[in-house]
């Protein structure tokens, strides 16, 4: 790197020493420099300096999801958000909190739990993930459908742009329709339209009681039926999952089709739900097995394993069993969440592009989609990890917010 551009970057981040690029590899590629700014002004100044010198910046939090998206064509500057980890304002009586983007979800949940509250998003595979990464990837898991996702809970945010500005949108109150919701635009944008530095969220009281049940079904058809019946019943449920046999076995259960049920609520409601779930399982000829949550932990870990190929399909609940089956036949560990309409497929040894395309086509035939959550760079070059909604609108937005392609260039599509 030429020294004038490096000087400009150094100058932008006075509070930080340069970091070791080796710690910031993405897809085996090292950045030329790495910084961890201490406040939002430095983030904006760093972006601005990079923008001026034609350098590509990749914002990153806990670095658990940097393989989501197309491989980057160029990677000059690693921008770690871990230096921005403060709780800006927490008002328990309002059930709202404002935090910096580099705060880890674990830290946040610990603070909230001390007041009997939580951010009601599914625990991600790794609890060191940052709030910024959570929003930028907008992923959801087992609780989705029963509970909202991060994108539904964000009340407002501030993001740094490559022109050095720090625009905010939304606010800190739970209901607000003032102006355009840029914070919703950043949710799921993978940092391509701005670097989130601060966000406000709506919170929920922690449920007083939770319970986990693993239901071993007779066959795949009755497992699918049982999952559906549980979803249709009045239960204090937080999650229902349908597991193909291999996924079950990998989660420490028998190699049979399973339905996992997670209950949460007031004790009496949870207790009755357990009884009703037992009755439904009984009618379906399924065995109720005691569990301490290990299968859930293992499934989550699988969903977030970056060495493997991980796919997520969104399909109507009625097509979910079919896609779980199809993914299993393709050699994946497969499971689905009917309430979220999502199917996860995990292939330790990777998948060939034709298999991914076939699953995508099948999902699309049901009006759904397939997203590649993690895979080798090769696979991500051969198969578009996403399917773009409106590519033209996305290009136009990128042109407005990051005309030189300074932020995560090429993540979404050529140049974007």
């Amino acid at each position: 790197m030429t020294s004038p551009s490096l000087d400009a970057l150094r100058h932008a981040v006075p509070s930080d020493i340069e970091r070791e690029p080796h710690d910031y590899a993405i897809d085996g590629v090292l950045p030329r420099v790495a910084f961890r700014p201490g406040d939002r002004r430095e983030v904006a100044d760093l972006l601005h300096a990079a923008d001026q010198h034609g350098l590509v910046v990749v914002p990153q939090g806990a670095r658990t999801s940097l393989e989501l998206g197309r491989p980057l064509g160029q990677y000059d500057v690693a921008l770690s958000l871990l230096g921005l980890d403060r709780i800006v304002e927490y008002v328990p009586e309002d059930l709202t909190i404002t935090v910096e983007a580099g705060l880890t979800l674990r830290h946040l949940q610990e603070e909230l739990a001390a007041r009997g509250q939580y951010l009601p998003v599914d625990p991600p595979p790794h609890d060191r993930v940052t709030v910024g990464g959570l929003l930028a990837t907008a992923r959801a898991g087992a609780w989705r459908g029963y509970l909202p996702a991060a994108r539904d809970l964000v009340l407002g945010a501030t993001a740094a742009l490559p022109d050095g500005t720090l625009p905010k949108s939304g606010g800190r109150v739970v209901k607000n329709v003032s102006g355009y919701d840029l914070h919703r635009l950043h949710a799921g944008a993978l940092g391509a339209l701005g670097v989130i530095v601060e966000a406000s969220f709506k919170l929920a009281p922690l449920p007083p009681a939770t319970r986990l049940l693993a239901l071993r079904a007779r066959d795949e058809r009755s497992a699918a039926r049982l999952a559906r019946d549980l979803w249709d019943s009045h239960l204090a449920a937080r999650s229902v999952a349908l597991l193909a046999p291999a996924a079950a076995s990998h989660s420490g259960l028998h190699r049979e089709p399973y339905v996992l049920l997670e209950l949460a609520g007031v004790e009496a409601a949870v207790e009755r739900s357990v009884e009703e779930a037992r009755a439904l399982a009984g009618r379906a000829g399924a065995q109720v097995e005691a569990t301490e949550g290990e299968p859930w932990r293992r499934l989550r870990a699988l969903a977030g394993e970056s060495g493997a190929t991980v796919l997520r399909m969104g399909v109507p609940a009625t097509s979910l069993p079919e896609l779980v089956g199809a993914a299993a036949r393709a050699g994946c560990l497969a499971w689905g969440y009917p309430a979220a309409g999502s199917v996860i497929a995990h292939a330790e040894a990777g998948l060939d592009p034709a298999a991914v395309r076939a699953l995508r086509e099948q999902a699309q035939r049901h009006g759904g989609f397939l997203q590649v959550e993690a895979a080798s760079t090769e696979l991500r070059r051969q198969v578009d990890p996403f399917e773009h909604g409106d590519a033209e609108a996305l290009r136009a937005l990128k042109q407005q917010f990051d005309p030189r392609g300074t932020l995560n260039r090429g993540r979404w599509m050529e140049g974007v």
Partner: protein, 486 residues
């Protein structure tokens, strides 16, 4: 035919050719009703059109572009922020003909509708399946789902279930250049940048929704509705926080003050006591067991804050009666006063007691009657100021009071609008909560979608030329001292 009958302009002729003469209104007397919505502002479009589908809508947009005139989407015209007012004339695209429910997929809990479908019509179509569409604005008997999408509308049940945006899976949109596209899809969390989430709440400035895919929810097993009666607004406000403090988030938590009770009760007979200082309408929902426990916690919290009495609806008709008073409240004000100005502001719920007190003091200072009927659980205020439109000084005082109440909300750390939108009404106040940098970024969104000058001009953002709509706007500009409250 008299020779001096007006002849249609070239614009009108092009629109007639595209839609048929029946679906194009251009005579001034036919356009009268399209000058208004539920706000104070008014302006006449040059022509109002009623396309039947997305293709016709796109054709209209392209014709308007060719003639270089503004386009303004309109649903039922019940918006309070002037969003559907054709400030600079042009073509008003009215969605009333696009009123079909295209699909109710009960098994997958979703519905596909056209934008002109009335909110309540969808509710009625899905109820037999044991399903509901959660956003329930009080105007649900008349407002369109397209308008709900545009304004990201809320309702009493937003407290638990979130605003409209949380229930929209995808939208088919005609963009300002006439292109038709889908944002989002039929599933939650579609891949990619969330253009769906950006579009919802954009107040008809980024395009026109022509089809909407909505998420439906299952009706709950049990519900309990309570009426907590207080001697003062302050006590009722304090009870709101007390309920939340107990770890209970009701599905609805609404307040009515004495002024509105005295207007509503004689008309609706909902059973609200006329001598109460304020009442809270509290609803909890879920499994029988949790409803029982949460209801008890809510009742305790109200008693602790000095509730005189807490009544529980014992039957469905009783429950509906309690709600009828709430839902018909604004209509009742209309029947009781020749004119009223309904405000929409938000404060953190912990700031409700002090804000409500300040609102009452300010109304008294301006010598205006102000009734309050609002979503207390969300901190979403709706001070409703009654006035005599024939009193020459009244409009000025009303608008000044409105500006003052907005400032109170902003100073309390709140927002300019919780559900009615910025529209035309609050453009001038945007600078109270957003810096020039913030507004510039929002402007870029508009630029990315194109048609900044022509697509629903003069709405949401404070810039724009030739946007004056006379008296009301002038007063608001005068009230808005930029930068002071950021």
């Amino acid at each position: 035919m008299p020779t001096n009958a007006p002849t249609p302009s070239a614009l009108v002729r092009d629109l007639q050719a595209a839609l048929g003469e029946r679906h194009v209104l251009w005579a001034p007397e036919d356009l009268l009703v399209y000058e208004y919505d539920a706000s104070i502002d008014r302006a006449r479009p040059d022509v109002a059109v009623f396309p039947g589908d997305a293709e016709e809508t796109a054709a209209v947009v392209r014709i308007a572009n060719l003639h270089d005139v503004p386009v303004v989407p309109r649903g039922s015209g019940t918006g309070f922020a002037g969003g559907a007012i054709a400030v600079r004339g042009g073509v008003l695209i009215v969605t009333t003909r696009m009123n079909r429910i295209l699909q109710v997929d009960a098994e997958n809990r979703l519905a596909v509708v056209e934008p002109g479908v009335i909110n309540l019509a969808l509710q009625q179509a899905v109820a037999p399946h044991g399903l509901l569409y959660a956003p329930d604005p009080s105007s649900q008997r008349i407002c369109s789902l397209g308008g709900n999408i545009a304004n990201n509308s809320g309702g009493p049940h937003t407290l638990a279930h979130g605003s409209t945006v949380n229930h929209v899976l995808g939208v088919e949109v005609v963009l300002p250049d006439g292109r038709i596209t889908w944002l989002g899809g039929r599933q939650l969390d579609a891949p990619g940048v969330d253009l769906r989430g950006l579009f919802v709440g954009s107040e008809g400035t980024l395009g026109i929704a022509t089809k909407i895919c909505l998420r439906l929810m299952r009706q709950q097993e049990a519900v309990q509705t309570m009426l907590a009666i207080f001697d003062s607004v302050e006590a009722a406000s304090a009870a709101v926080s007390a309920v939340i403090r107990r770890g209970v988030v009701p599905v609805a938590l609404e307040m009515l003050d004495q002024e509105i009770i005295r207007i509503v009760e004689p008309q609706i007979h909902a059973g609200y006591p006329l001598d109460a200082g304020a009442v809270l309408l509290i609803e909890v929902e879920g499994l029988r067991e949790s409803v029982a426990i949460e209801a008890e916690a809510a009742i305790d919290a109200c008693r602790e804050q000095g509730a005189r009495e807490v009544r529980t609806a014992e039957s469905a008709p009783e429950r509906e009666r309690l709600w009828e008073g709430r839902k018909a409240g604004i209509g009742a004000v209309g029947a009781a006063s020749p004119a009223f100005y309904l405000l929409d502001g938000v404060v953190p719920r912990t700031k409700l007691p002090q804000t409500m007190q300040a609102v009452q003091e300010a109304s008294a200072r301006y010598g205006l009657r102000c009734a309050n009927i609002f979503h207390a659980g969300d901190g979403n205020l709706h001070p409703t100021v009654m006035f005599d439109p024939d009193d020459p000084d009244a409009v000025r005082r009303v608008l000044e009071l409105g500006g003052e109440i907005m400032r109170l909300c902003v100073q309390a750390g709140g927002s300019l609008t919780g559900e009615h939108g910025i529209g035309l009404e609050k453009r001038s106040y945007m600078e109270w909560i957003f810096s020039p940098e913030d507004l510039d970024a929002m402007g870029r969104v508009r630029a990315a979608f194109g048609g900044e000058e022509r697509f629903n001009p003069c709405k949401v953002l404070p810039s724009g030329h030739g946007c004056g709509t006379g008296h009301a706007t002038e007063i608001r500009h005068h009230l808005a001292t930029p930068g002071v409250y950021v």
